[in-house]
């Protein structure tokens, strides 16, 4: 954390930056009416948040998960299923999605968190793959075709015909995510996570209950991702196994976090701010066959970032010799 290194005046700079961004977010929809740009901002906020949530496990704890989309999918499906089968509003459905994701993380986390490095990464991919196949074959939950959110225009259902309200929902959720990750990172948990990442055995010998804290990171990360999954469901209006439990989506989340700077608070948001507009812009510029090109851009970005910016954009600002924040 930078607090140890930076003087107080700089610390408040972080707060000032956030304030500016919040104001900009608040003013934006009034300044720009074009829904396309609003869509870009919403997507940026979403990917930034997903990256920030992923960061709890991948950055601070140092366990790289390539299957995080599974929590998004769980959140999305939970929200829509509760809506369809029980008529439960997304006001409750979205948090429920986060809860289901958290519970799954708890169940899967026990054996998985014992693994490290490659093995952990492979296990997360396997979990994602299993979930994908199960959802494809679960016709009660829509099977391969997926689920659609009903068309409605009601605050109670959090479904709107206009895209505008979603912008505000995304902004609020994004701020919540930022607040959550920031608080966690500066708390005892943040220090313990980084200690576990540094040397788990040494950390334990200092009294760090490693198992408990690893699980905490995993569950919190899953919960946040699940909540955004719920948002994704009502925003896009449709989920299916291919889009919700997608390995490519998982990789995009990882990329966003790495591009911005792994293990930092602001990193994922920066990464998303750079990547998402580029990808969306590319898709539009290339017209009909855009789908192939935006993923191509992601692929190239992944390779280039790995080769030239592995510490992320944040690294460009770090002073040498100081510990990264």
């Amino acid at each position: 954390m930078k607090e140890a290194a930076r003087p107080a005046i700089v610390r408040s700079r972080g707060a000032r930056v956030v304030a500016v961004v919040v104001l900009a977010l608040a003013a934006f929809p009034f300044a720009v009416a074009d829904p396309f740009y609003r869509q870009i901002v919403v997507m940026t906020l979403m990917y930034g948040a997903l990256g920030a949530a992923w960061n709890l496990v991948g950055g601070f704890l140092g366990r790289v998960s390539f299957g995080h989309a599974v929590f998004l999918g769980l959140g999305a499906y939970t929200t829509l299923l509760l809506l369809h089968k029980l008529g439960l509003s997304p006001w409750l459905g979205i948090p429920a999605g986060g809860l289901i994701a958290a519970v799954s993380a708890f169940v899967v986390g026990r054996p998985t968190l014992r693994l490290t490095g490659h093995y952990f990464a492979m296990a997360t991919i396997a979990v994602l793959a299993v979930a994908h196949v199960l959802m494809v074959n679960w016709s009660w939950a829509g099977g391969a075709v997926g689920l659609e959110a009903p068309i409605a225009n009601s605050v109670w259902l959090l479904l709107f015909r206009s895209r505008a309200p979603y912008y505000w929902i995304a902004a609020v959720l994004a701020l919540l995510t930022l607040w959550a990750t920031y608080t966690l990172a500066r708390s005892r948990a943040g220090y313990y996570w980084r200690a576990i990442n540094g040397d788990e055995a040494a950390a334990r010998s200092l009294g760090v209950p490693a198992e408990r804290y690893k699980m905490l990171a995993f569950v919190m990360s899953a919960a946040l991702t699940g909540i955004w999954g719920g948002f994704y469901a009502i925003y896009v209006g449709f989920v299916d196994p291919d889009s919700a439990f997608s390995l490519t989506l998982s990789i995009q989340i990882v990329l966003v976090a790495i591009l911005g700077g792994v293990g930092t608070i602001t990193g994922p948001w920066l990464g998303a701010a750079l990547l998402v507009p580029l990808a969306e812009g590319m898709r539009v510029a290339m017209g009909g066959s855009g789908k192939g090109f935006d993923l191509l851009l992601y692929g190239l970005a992944i390779v280039l970032v790995s080769l030239f910016l592995p510490r992320g954009l944040i690294a460009l600002r770090l002073r040498r010799g100081a510990a990264p924040g």
């Binding site: 790289v64 390539f66 054996p111 998985t112 014992r114 693994l115 490095g117 490659h118 093995y119 990464a121 492979m122 296990a123 991919i125 396997a126 979990v127 793959a129 299993v130 196949v133 199960l134 494809v136 074959n137 390995l247 490519t248 990789i251 990882v254 990329l255 790495i258 066959s289 192939g292 090109f293 993923l295 191509l296 992601y298 692929g299 190239l300 970005a301 992944i302 390779v303 970032v305 790995s306 080769l307 592995p310």
Partner: protein, 283 residues
């Protein structure tokens, strides 16, 4: 049921062939090549276009595909892997994934997402073994895969060059101290592993659909095989590959075809969770 077993066996040999190339690369250069499946896809397209445009049968284009893939493997090593040798493992994994994604998207853009297949090749038809009827392409591919694996094993375990490989796999620094050029060895391994996938891919076109994401499934199954065999163990990867083929076929026959892949991943998870060293251990 016997037919399912036999099909599974031959499928397994193919998975094993892909897995062994991956295991070779992982075992010696310490890199999990997430683009391996997409290398396979490239080989399939090479064979496809050679057939469609030049009427070259897949069996003949196999060596060509092998050469093309050897080049691809070389460039992947030189341009991406070598520069990243001191980077954290996560970055390298990510980079190979990115490479795979790029290859897949280029294929998507250049060749469209259409599923293609080859109508009649030299191998078309079926073979009867007693009560069982198997596709001839599958059997031949399986046999060739087995032969290729045999050659690879001989290369790695019985030749001087192979011993150099094993030395580098064990201790890069020590190997270089005794004069083994680990950089050159790494490049050779990437070329060899990719070439193996090239042969397999070319033959695969004689009975499998060709499309941009075809590599994804094979790639994932190859990882599973390599991990289950204990990352870096060639025999383990081979056995796991065959095992996967058999389990997959049996699941399809006994349970339900839809759950075939899920069962593989479930087993994989169980192995990772409870026997992380793999079913068969290291070298």
């Amino acid at each position: 049921m016997l037919e399912a077993l036999a099909t599974g066996l031959f499928n397994g040999l193919i998975y094993a062939a892909v897995a062994v190339g991956l295991a070779l690369i992982w075992g010696i250069t310490d890199v999990i090549n997430f683009a391996h499946g997409d290398f396979l896809m490239l080989a399939m397209y090479v064979a496809y276009w050679l057939f469609t445009l030049g009427h070259v049968d897949p069996t003949l284009s196999a060596p060509v595909a092998a050469c093309v893939l050897a080049f691809v493997g070389f460039f992947a090593y030189a341009l991406i892997i070598r520069p990243l040798q001191r980077a954290p493992a996560m970055i390298v994994i990510l980079a190979t994934f990115g490479l795979g994604l790029v290859l897949r998207q280029l294929a998507f853009i250049a060749f469209s997402p259409d599923y293609r297949n080859l109508p009649d090749t030299w191998l078309s038809g079926s073979i009867r073994l007693g009560d069982i009827s198997l596709g001839r392409p599958q059997v031949v591919t399986g046999v060739v895969a087995l032969a290729m694996i045999g050659v690879l094993f001989k290369l790695v375990y019985r030749t001087r060059w192979g011993r150099a490989l094993q030395a580098v796999a064990e201790d890069r620094l020590a190997a270089s101290l005794v004069g083994i050029p680990s950089d050159r060895v790494n490049a050779q391994v990437w070329m060899l592993g990719s070439a193996a996938v090239g042969v397999t891919g070319a033959l695969l076109t004689s009975f499998f659909y060709v499309f941009p994401s075809v590599g994804a499934v094979f790639g994932l199954l190859a990882f599973v095989a390599v991990a289950m065999g204990g990352f870096g163990a060639l025999p383990g990867a081979f056995l796991s590959g065959v095992l996967i083929g058999i389990v997959e076929a049996l699941t399809g026959y006994l349970v339900e075809p839809a759950y075939k892949t899920a069962s593989i991943f479930l087993i994989f998870l169980l192995v990772l969770w409870y026997r992380p060293r793999g079913l068969f251990g290291r070298w």
